[in-house]
């Protein structure tokens, strides 16, 4: 943990609607999101550009990506840094940005998350997505993008005697929430029965349990609280991470998200959280995260979701008002930055989508694959 007294604020946000953007490349998407965030922050003046991206390195290879993106934004001479941590790239970039600001190495940082998933047909893309998992063990086999999650989902169903229909309420809730998210890829409702009976992609996972393949970019401007140029939307209270076993097969309990557990331990306990954006590339991960965070007993989270406990009308914290990776979409390295945009808009009162209206604290969680690494960010409303 960084004990610096420097406070870090989000003062600008930008997000491109997630879609199959055939006419737009990585730099075009990053430009749109970056310019929006800079405009909202009130100044184009930044001393660092940090770019979170992951799959793009396999889809449309460009190394030293951040420098090329900085140049395309017209930010010549700025310092630039690329950060890659698979599906957790966005929060890894946030960790980097916050530590640069807290150490006073930077005072204004433009953080862009951008990724492309549609430069190739879905077959080759599934091969690339396997590289999120451990290529020295599990991903030597043809596990696809969903195989490991499917193994864990079946383990969970049998261990806790949870039926398939109960597990279908997670995607149904995500689709319900995404309807009101202006940058969601799948903004339409889906009934739980439809999820259960959709085309299987990796049994017991169906097409409607899985995240869609879409392109996107989101951006935020981060500033040192002592030198604010923009009006803050939210304060970054902390961001923390931990690595974990390279394969769930190596865990004593394969269902134990030990990297997230370790990260949570580093935070030293949680106060009341009003809104949470979890990592639900597949529903099972979202459910395991709820249980790891202590928001549901082991084996009970799916039932709570089905009962509406985490919905806008529920008694629990509001979970994934964005629609989650499932329905907002999951452009791998960009996803966490979408979550940062969404949660800071909720805390600032400018969010158009699902909300309760009195949110003061927000949490963002991401994991790569089945938990090779996990990250947690805590955000706070700026009062006054």
């Amino acid at each position: 943990m960084n004990d610096s007294m420097v406070k870090v604020y989000i003062t600008g946000t930008g997000a491109v609607k997630i879609a199959r953007h055939y006419p737009l490349g990585v730099r075009d998407l990053a430009f749109q999101a970056g310019k929006q965030a800079l405009a909202e922050s009130g100044s184009d003046n930044v001393d660092f550009v940090i770019v979170a991206s992951s799959l793009s390195y396999l889809q449309a290879p460009q190394l030293d990506l951040a420098s090329y993106i900085a140049s395309s934004l017209g930010l010549h001479g700025v310092r630039a840094l690329s950060v890659e941590a698979g599906e957790s790239s966005g929060l890894a970039a946030l960790e980097t940005a916050v530590s640069l600001i807290k150490s006073q190495e930077a005072s204004r940082v433009l953080l862009i998350g951008v990724d492309k998933m549609t430069e190739h047909p879905s077959g080759p893309t599934y091969v690339m997505l396997q590289a999120l998992y451990d290529t020295e063990s599990d991903a030597y086999y043809n596990i696809g993008h969903a195989g490991i999650a499917a193994l864990l989902m079946r383990l969970y169903m049998e261990k806790y005697e949870v039926d398939r229909l109960t597990l279908a309420y997670w995607p149904a809730m995500m689709h319900m929430h995404a309807k009101n998210n202006p940058h969601a890829m799948l903004p339409f409702a889906v009934a739980p029965e439809k999820v259960m009976t959709a085309m299987p992609i990796a049994e017991p996972i169906t097409l409607l349990d899985a995240y869609p393949l879409g392109d996107g970019a989101a951006a935020i401007v981060l500033e040192n609280g002592d030198e604010l140029e923009g009006r803050p939307l939210a304060e970054i209270e902390s961001v923390i991470s931990a690595t974990g076993m390279p394969s769930p097969a190596l865990r004593e309990d394969p269902l134990d998200l030990e990297s997230l557990r370790t990260a949570l331990g580093r935070l030293g306990g949680l106060e009341k959280i009003d809104v949470i954006e979890l990592h639900d590339s597949f529903s099972i991960y979202g459910l395991l995260e709820l249980e790891t965070l202590g928001l549901a007993e082991k084996g009970e989270s799916a039932k709570l979701v089905a009962e509406g406990y985490f919905s806008a009308e529920g008694e629990g914290p509001l979970v994934n008002p964005s629609g989650g990776l499932k329905a907002r979409g999951h452009p791998i390295g960009a996803t966490d930055v979408y979550k940062l945009v969404e949660v800071s808009r909720i805390l600032a009162g400018t969010w158009q989508g699902v909300k309760r209206g009195d949110e003061e604290t927000g949490m963002i969680v991401s994991i790569n694959a089945a938990g090779s690494s996990s990250r947690i960010a805590l955000l706070r409303k700026v009062k006054g």
């Binding site: 080759p124 396997q130 030597y140 043809n142 696809g144 499917a150 049998e158 049994e203 097969a249």
Partner: protein, 144 residues
């Protein structure tokens, strides 16, 4: 999913022979062998031949099969427990309807993938339901 010959070649023996690694520090066994023990971090490891029979703890029938291996869809992936050592691997010689957790499976060597642009064909251990005594082409080594 190997597109590089050296990447596949340097790891081939454990994949053909189901050779795991035993940590000399903490005693735990893992497969396939890693650079260091995933449990305690020690790089003091020794090779150990794993028994060929295990129990199927979970499985998935995969229809969204990656790339050039689409022709082989569906592919079945399993989580196999061999005396406490868990392995993610493909299953073979079994129909989706014959699968259930708790099934006893045994290791055989099969083709894993073929990549058209490089021509690389990779092989390795897969698991199939135990066929019963006297069959199974002598795959059961009897090792514990």
């Amino acid at each position: 999913m190997t597109r590089s010959l050296p990447v596949w070649w340097r790891r081939r023996i454990p994949r053909y022979r189901l050779i795991g690694a035993r940590c000399k520090e903490c005693g735990k066994i893992h497969y396939p062998p890693r650079t260091s023990c995933p449990y305690c971090g020690s790089n003091s490891l020794e090779e150990v031949q794993l028994p060929r029979r295990g129990i199927l703890e979970s499985y998935s029938v995969i229809y969204s099969v990656p790339g050039d291996n689409r022709l082989n869809a569906p592919i079945i992936v399993g989580l196999v427990n061999i005396n406490g050592v868990r392995i993610v691997a493909e299953l073979t010689d079994v129909l989706p309807g014959e699968l259930s957790t708790g099934l006893e499976v045994e290791a055989v060597v099969r083709k894993i993938s073929e990549t058209s642009d490089t021509g690389i064909i990779t092989y390795g251990v897969k698991f199939r339901p135990v066929l019963g005594a006297g069959s199974g082409a002598g795959q059961d080594t009897g090792e514990a």
